[in-house]
Amino acid sequence: MFRLTRRLAGAAVAAALAAFGTMSGTAAAQPTNLTATPGTPATVALPAARTPDAVLLDLYVRAYTPPRRGSVEAIVSLGPTGSEMEIARFAVFPSDPFFATSPRELRAYRFDASAALTAFQGRALMVQVRLVPIDESNSPEGAKLTLGRVEVNPRPAN
């Protein structure tokens, strides 16, 4: 965990990448973009060296701004660059704007990514989060989602 403020946005990116390095045992981070807007996905690199039991993808969302009209959903994809496969869709609820000012305020989402992680074992992967309108008749303009951290983790015991 690391503190995230507007002033420290750049540091947040570095911290997020550092977290990956710590997690995977490698530090070969790729260029990333932690903020998704309509038409521009958030992208986070996942190094090739991963433990085989790490099958859950955990996304920590730092900030969200809903569109000015209508609503959006986030499509989460994972795979080699250009060959990402969709693993989940989610919508932010409650949909009020929020900005986490401490690690405890990050909103975390957990997805089973075992299919993608198994299919692409041993390869560097890209996590991509795209914002798309739920209602095509409304423009998603104004929507923004910023990631704080991305992890892959093993399944917890029941």
Binding site: L56, D58, P66, G70, S71, E73, A88, R89, F90, A91, V92, F93, P94, S95, D96, R104, E105, L106, R107, A108, Y109, R110, F111, D112, I134, D135, R155, P156, A157, N158
Partner: protein, 479 residues
């Protein structure tokens, strides 16, 4: 593959468990059944009572905890989201609200209906109309994005729900513990954990797609909120019935929700304080759900067909039946003497006890199982259908209620394409124990002749014109 009794039981465990609990308590008057709203006409007493309760709650002063806005504020100020208290807290919230509705509607049998957005993805019609009988409709909410909202299959369709239900770990299915929780202090109730696919998927997406009041923490201002969460609660119950275990962690089980909910008492209200462990047996809480429409994932038996030779008794019945949409088809099985004797050992449900309380209602232990195996099914080539299964009904038809005591459950053909081409065809295993035990205490007791009646009905919005499928044969296994 040879499958013995043990294996068959394992394969059928999900649906056996799913079917076992509901009607075991069906004869106990204090356990009320929450119904699918799609089965209720707009003037059904449940919806009439719900409207009356909402109207009464809105008329109460804001000083009264039963006031409509006050109820929504409980959610705004207390609801946990994104952690493992999400499911039990909302169960308690629904219970308290349901009791308020009973009091204010003067309907002691009121139960919240649920909106099954998988089987009926469109916003229920009773909630979409501005008026009812010429008066403002209390179920209507004008802030929604549309009154024709339809939840897409990639959010809550059968395959999506099958994936969610397939999760075996509670802290993924029901969201995780708050990060760092090390005691049961109330401060952890809204602390962040990891939101699992059930909460972030169907739960959140339905909120957001309806929009308006539903996208905020004041979402209970929209009457559909309560039916949405009733369905969330039903899916949790279904997950448990499939043999999935809630976490045994005491940080979850011993957690208390105190001074958050209120229930009627005499002329006023009293706090409804609960502990998570007290929220886990819904029959003890006084309600249950109709048997679920089972997904193919829980019904399909891998080909080649199960070898039933090691089962106690197996009877074979009519073969090569073509079943058409909206047309009841009976598959008859005549039992011989040993088979009838085995069937006779299936115990009936307990008769209603005199004045049972909800807390005293306990499920009756099953003594055996009656399974129907539909073999060599050729699925429909066009569209899909909900196939309602009845047992020994004198008049099963598309109009027969799923509340009918002969109703055993339903299945659909969603997702069968990947299975249909296997050697040996498609087989479906269906548990009739629940229904047989229920019929045992009535004049419809089954002795040596079992009629499994299939009634395919259209699924709203899904093509079914001229739909038909074929059943190669049927077997009844008594184990």
């Amino acid at each position: 593959m040879t499958v013995n009794r043990r294996t068959l039981l394992t394969q059928g465990a999900a649906l056996a468990a799913a079917a076992a609990l509901p009607s075991e308590a069906s004869a106990q008057a204090a356990v009320l059944q929450r119904s699918n709203v799609s089965s209720l006409a707009p003037n059904h007493p449940i919806l009439v009572s719900y409207r009356a309760a909402i109207t009464a709650m809105k008329a109460l002063p804001s000083s009264d905890p039963r006031n409509w806005t006050r109820q929504a504020q409980i959610h705004q100020n207390r609801c946990p989201h994104g952690n493992w208290f999400f499911l039990p807290w909302h169960r308690a919230y629904l219970l308290a609200f349901e009791r308020i509705c009973r009091q204010l509607s003067n309907n002691a049998n009121f139960v919240l209906p649920y909106w099954d957005w998988t089987g009926n993805p469109q916003l229920p019609a009773a909630f979409a109309s501005q008026t009812f009988n010429g008066q403002p409709n209390a179920l209507f909410n004008g802030t929604r994005s549309s009154q024709n909202v339809t939840i897409p299959t990639n959010v809550a369709g059968s395959q999506r729900m099958a994936t969610i239900l397939n999760e075996t770990t509670f802290e993924i299915f029901g969201s995780s513990r708050p990060n760092g929780q090390n005691n049961t202090s109330a401060t952890w109730q809204r602390a962040g954990g990891l939101k699992g696919p059930f909460e972030s998927g169907p739960h959140d997406q339905v909120h957001v797609r309806i929009n308006g009041d539903m996208v905020s923490l004041m979402s209970p201002l929209d009457p559909i909120f309560w039916l949405h969460h009733c369905n969330i609660d039903r899916v949790w119950d279904q997950w448990n019935r499939m043999g999935r275990s809630n976490t045994s962690n005491s940080l979850w089980r011993n957690f208390a929700f105190n001074n958050q909910f209120f229930v009627p008492q005499a002329a006023g209200t009293t706090p409804f304080n609960v502990v998570v462990s007290g929220m886990l047996n819904i029959q003890a809480l006084g309600y249950r759900y109709v048997p679920p429409v089972l997904t193919p994932a829980s019904l399909l038996v891998a080909a080649p067909p199960v070898d039933l030779t090691k089962l106690t008794q197996v009877a074979k019945g009519s073969a090569d039946q073509v079943v058409k949409i909206n047309t009841p088809t009976s598959l008859d099985v005549k039992l011989d003497a040993p088979q009838a004797a085995a069937l006779k050992k299936i115990q009936p449900v307990s008769p209603p006890a005199a004045g049972p309380t909800a807390a005293a209602a306990k499920p009756v232990q099953a003594s055996g199982r009656v399974l129907a195996i539909l073999r060599d099914i050729t699925p429909p080539t066009n569209g899909n259908t909900e196939v309602r299964v009845f047992v020994n009904s004198p008049d099963a038809s598309p109009e027969t209620s799923t509340q009918d005591r002969h109703y055993a459950g339903s299945f659909t053909f969603f997702g069968v394409g990947e299975h249909a081409g296997h050697e040996g065809g498609l087989s479906i295993l269906f548990d009739l124990t629940d229904t047989v035990r229920r019929l045992r205490v009535t004049e419809d007791d089954i002795t040596d002749n079992i009629k499994v009646q299939l009634v395919p009905v259209p699924i709203p919005g899904v093509p079914s014109t001229d739909l038909q499928f074929k059943v190669g044969s049927i077997e009844i296994a008594i184990i």
